[in-house]
Structure formats: C-alpha cells, structure tokens
C-alpha cells in the first residue's frame, strides 16, 4: 500500500467534493423534472467510495448497487457522461438506457450499478472466477448495502466464494438503514462482518472476517480496503464493513419517518468532507487556497456536466432497439 502524499490526498478531496456537488445538483434538477425514475444520492458516504476506489490496483474490478454515482465519479468516468445518463441522454455512459441506477464503464473495470438488491453479488463472484480461471492477479471489490446482507444472493455468493476460493472483497457499506429499516430490525447480526463466520470451516479458513472501518474517514477506508485487496489477492475472500451514514433520504421523496432530525444533524456535523478538510488544513501549511480552488472547480465541473447533458440528444428509435442481443 502506497502511503498517500499531499497530491493524492488533494485528489481524494477533489473527488469527494465533486461527488457532493454533483449529488446536490442532481437533487435540484430532479425536482425540476430533468432526471426521472429513482435517484439514490451518495451524500454522506463519499469517503467510503473514494477511499475504496483509491485502493484498487490497476487491474482490479469494482461493482456496486444503484447508489452508484459516487463510484462512477471516483472511478474517473467523465462527469458529463454520468450526468447525461442521469438525464437519459444518448451521450450517457449507458446510452441513456440504464439511468442513474445503471452506470457502468467496462473500460474502467467498473461493472455497474445494479438495482436488484443483492443481484450483483453473484456477478462479482463470476468476475472473480475469471481471474482464478486464468490465474490472473485481479481482485473484485463488491460493494453492497447493509440491507443486501439479508437476501439469498448474499448467502449463495459468499458461500461460493469461500468454496471456490475467489479473490473478492465483499464490502458492506453500512449506512445503518435499508430504506427505512434500521439494521438491527432486519439483520440477526448487528455487525455485518460477523456474517463471515458462517463461511468458515472449523479451522477458521474460508471468508476472512475483516475490519469494521470508519467509513467517514477516507484515509481509514483507503488503508483498510488496500489491506483487504492485498489479503484477497494472496488468500481469497474477505468481508469488510464500512460504517457510514446516508445524510439524505433513501431516494428522492423519502419522508424519513424512520429517523430523527437530530440524528441526521449529528452525523452531518461529522461528515466526511468537513472532517477531511480539517485534517488537511491541520497537517499541511497553506493548503486552504488549494482546497478553495478545488471547491470552485467542482462547481464548475458540475455546471459543465449539466450544460453538456442538457444540450445532448435523446437516444433515437434505433437506440431503442439496439443491443438487446450481441450480433
């Protein structure tokens, strides 16, 4: 694991701020009717996404849920093409056919946002199987929500990854709720990493019970996921949890009856971006101007993305019927 230098840290800050501004703007234009369908914001969880993506080695793979905008941006997809997908435009990363929940870029080894809870877990196992089959050192990081640990796909996929010794980092982004249901109301295990124990033999081999990371600290996530990737590459599957918090509703229009305003404010006060900014200013002299510039650039990048998306064409009738099958 390379120790991040100042430039790297600034780049993480840049990504986190870009995601935040991007998401805020998405919420705004959703209200204006420019984005349709469901919209799941990543606000509050930026450190988990950015730290995780930073830990990936060049040939590693990442796959996630419908809460995927942050991963797409951290992975380096063009914000213009991501915003265009939000608006259902032909220039979107998925040609306007996937929408906000189905961003992907094969070129970036980003295997998508997936909208059936748990549905992408077996896909992650399959991608990892390819690496095993071809004897390639590639780890697949599979992100999921806490709620996804309760569905059958979770059990079948984790079990198979242990039996077949697949190089997967199973990463539970524990934002404490699945829609409106708090973790302890839906899951017998309160700590997600405990679930690794069901996939170990009596000698403790199988899925390694990984750490519970502070998902609001990008550096802690980076370190923890880097170690997990190293472990998976050398040994096999590992289950890691990142403790985080979703500061907005589950999706747009969530009345949030399941939690108090106080609770949200408490987490908001210790949000990942403010905290990281504080760390940077305390540890690097005269960094404020760099940070301020990054803040300004993020707004600029989002403005450009929206302008690009708005001026992009809709998919055509030809696009409507293309790519159902490979030729």
């Amino acid at each position: 694991m390379a120790k991040p230098n100042k430039n790297t840290l600034l780049d993480w800050y840049r990504q986190m701020v870009l995601i935040r501004r991007f998401e805020e703007r998405c919420a705004e234009i959703y209200q204006q009717g420019l984005i349709g369908g469901f919209l799941h914001l990543y606000i509050g969880q930026e450190a988990t996404g950015v730290g995780t993506v930073a830990a990936l080695r060049e040939n590693d793979h990442i796959i996630t849920t419908y809460r995927d905008h942050g991963i797409a941006l951290a992975k380096g997809l063009d914000p213009k093409a991501v915003m265009a997908e939000m608006m259902g435009k032909k220039t979107g990363v998925s040609g306007g056919k996937g929408g906000s929940m189905h961003l992907a870029s094969r070129d970036h080894n980003f295997w998508g946002g997936h909208a059936i809870v748990g549905g992408h877990l077996p896909i992650a196992a399959g991608i990892a199987l390819k690496a095993r089959y071809n004897d390639e050192d590639e780890v697949t990081v599979c992100m999921m929500g806490d709620g996804a640990t309760n569905i059958g796909y979770f059990h079948e996929s984790l079990n198979l990854s242990a039996v077949w010794d697949l190089p997967v980092v199973w990463l539970v982004e524990n934002n404490q709720y699945g829609m409106g249901t708090a973790v302890e109301r839906a899951s017998a295990a309160d700590h997600m990493v405990l679930k690794a124990r069901g996939y170990q033999n009596s000698r403790g081999e199988g899925i390694k019970e990984g750490p519970r990371l502070d998902g609001m600290d990008v550096m802690a996530v980076y370190e923890g996921i880097s170690e997990a990737i190293d472990y998976a590459s050398k040994n096999g599957p590992i289950l890691v949890e990142s403790l985080t918090y979703r500061l907005e509703g589950h999706s747009m229009g969530d009345p949030q009856r399941y939690r108090t305003k106080d609770e949200v404010e408490e987490y908001s006060a210790k949000g990942p971006i403010g905290r990281f900014r504080q760390y940077l200013t305390e540890n690097y002299k005269n960094i404020e101007s760099d940070l301020d510039k990054i803040d300004g650039d993020a707004v600029e990048a989002v403005n450009e993305a929206v302008a690009f998306a708005e001026s992009s064409p809709d998919p055509t009738m030809d696009d409507l019927i293309s790519n159902v099958y490979a030729d």
Partner: protein
Amino acid sequence: MADRPITIREALSSALREEMHRDESVFIMGEEVGVWGGTFAVTRGFLDEFGEKRVRDTPIAEMVIAGSAVGAAMAGLRPVAEIMTINFAFVAMDAIVNLAAKMRYMFDGQFKVPLVIRTTTGGGKQLGATHSHAPEVIFAHFPGLYVAVPGTAYDAKGMLKAAIRDDNPVLFVEHSTMLQRRSPVPADDYVLPIGKSDIKRKGDDVTIVTYQKGLEWSMDAAEELAKEGIEAEVIDLRWLRPLDLEPVFESFKKTNRAVVVEESLPMFNVGAEVAAQITNECFDWMDAPVQRVAAMDIPLPYSREIELAALPSPAKIIKAVKEIV
C-alpha cells in the same frame, strides 16, 4: 464420414466435449456435473478428462450458479452452467431474467454474456407437482435471452454447439424423458443456426407446430393420421426464441389449418402465441380456428395413469386434427 445413430445424451456429451477441446474458455459448472458425472450422465467422464478447473461442482445454489455464470461470461469466459432441472430454475429466475437477459441492453452494449444454461424439462415421470413442469415458454417471454428446445440428437448436438459459440445467453432445455432417443448424427463438426425451425414431416392437409416432447407425440399422431389418408406437415420450432414462424406461415398457406402441440400448460403458452401470429399473417388462408393441444390446466399428480391423462398424447392430437380437417 457416415452418419451414425446416437442418443440425445451422447449428442449433448459430444457437443460439450468437442467445444471444450476447441475453446479453453468453455467450462461447465453445476450441481453434480463433476464427481457424479451429471444427474443425467451427460458429463460422465468429464472430470477425468478436463479436470476440476473446467468441470466445477457447485453447491445447491441456483441463484449463484446462474448469477456467477453471468459474471464469468461478462468477464470473458464461456460458461455452460447446468441447472439440474427446470423446476429449480424458478429459484434462479431473477438471475436468468434480470441478470443474463438484460445485462447487455441496460448498459447499452458494454457487456456481452456468452452463457449457456443447460437444464432438463418435462413431466410424466411420477415426480409430483413440483418436479413435473415443462415451463420453458415462460423464459421465452424475455428479450435478451434465447431458448433452445431440441427434439432430436442431430438438433441437440448442432444447437448446443451453436449456443456455446454464440455471444448471447441461451437457456438450453433438454427433455429428461427423451435422452435415450436416437437419430443419425454426422461424425464431423457441424453447427446449426440459432432460431431456425425445421420441417420434420411433409404433408398437405394440416400443419402441426410443435417442439421437443410434442414433436414425438406429433410424429406418432401423423403416422396414424396417414393411415386414414390425412397428411400432416410437422414443423419443429427448435427454438422458442428467436421464434421462426416463416415456415409455419408458408405451410399454413398450403394446408389452411394448424394444430399447436406442446407439453406446457394451456394458458399463455406457445399455442397462444403461434395462433395469434398465424391469425395475423394468414387470416385470408384460414379455413378453421387454430387448435391447441397442451397439458391440462392443473399441477401434475403423482399417480401414473392420471398423470399421463393430464399430458398431451398422440390420441389428443389426432382428435384435434380431426376437429378441423
């Protein structure tokens, strides 16, 4: 080389074996495919021949069998995943429908899914309701997926090879009571086109549209009908998707009558689709309503005689033909 009669089981085995020799990225996975040799003995000897890497026994976990095969296919392998019987494919419905069939379209062509899911279908074996379905038509509902339903050894071999070489997901359905049926198969490599039906018997009086077990019943019925001077043209669909009805329309324009025969349940089935399309395409040639022969609209029972009574039969087909000829 001369054609040699082999069983459907042998045809499937040799197609798999030849494709695995041809292409290193082809591998098989599923319950009991390895040590056991395949529940229906299709992969007997494969573990010794190809080793554990390419002949992978799985847990009893259909969601991840189908789902991980989708992932492996997206990543560049060519999995042939086996779901022991189609009854258990219901457990993997999401993986087949939402993962396999939609992955390409939803991301606008960024991924391809060169996947074959082999499974067996069919009732009539006294296994009770949960194990006695022929529900392949359900899977034909979904664009993005192909559904193969071979009825002869020759077709089974050529179609399985086509399915393995194609870059799209194929649900490859084999009939569990037909694995011992023999027909001549060339020793040389051959591949049949995807989505082409086949005229299995020529005739001028009525068109019988069918597949798989229905093909067997229909051919028997056609022999009986011939004794009474009624010549049935029997068209084997071979694929439910892509569905190739051109030969059906052509035949119908000659016979002006059709019976659709299948083992699946009678509502929302192949017969409904084919009858509707014939009505649209051949209305001016129509001398009688299209007849449909399918299983009775009940879960299948265990007891032998009543189970068989619920399934189609040559006698039921003959009766349906006589309604309109």
